[in-house]
Amino acid sequence: MQPFTVRIQHEVFDCGAEIARLSANPACGAVVSFSGLVRDYGDRQDIAALELEHYPGMTENTLHAIIQQARERWQLQAATIIHRVGRLALGEAIVLVVTASSHRKDAFAAAEFLMDFLKTEAPFWKKEIQQDGSSYWVEAKASDQHAAGRWQ
């Protein structure tokens, strides 16, 4: 099993199966996961779907680099990052981060670190599509920059 993996895909993924895969290592006493879902409000109300665009190549390189940084700060046995692109319906998972460690503190901290840097460094862009069919590009949030900044 490849312990550190990054996947960018159009298809829906199975959060339970991904968590189970990282839970199979007897040296891992702690597995933490975060899944981000399509919500019914964003920059505006009545969101029906998202359209996710990315920069192929740079996205994967950036996510591998973020995992490498996390491994230098915490003791990690494994980590998975999956991010969907294309059209996503309300309630579907956009992103999954799973971290596995001997200890919960490392797994919790690393999962939060990976999400904070994914949101501010990985080249993904979200378009929100409203129920009436109108759409617009989401604006970057200062709160996300702040969240990533506290790890410096």
Partner: protein, 83 residues
Amino acid sequence: MKLDILYFARLKDSFGMGNEQLDTEAASVDELLIELRQRGGNWSSELAAGKAFRVARNQELVRLDATLSDGDEVAIFPPVTGG
């Protein structure tokens, strides 16, 4: 020299293209931006100084004073909003 230039998200929509090959003498990102702004319209407004956009050279984020070489892939895009 030739550069492969990529645009993403709002900039792709605004410029009406996702990529182009440009024959240019621009020696830095700054000089490239000056050249692109001279196209006027959305080019000058989206790439105006003070507008929030990022530039990557060969898939790594760079500052505006980064130098450019023949064959470089340069991507210009809005601040990222994934996750």
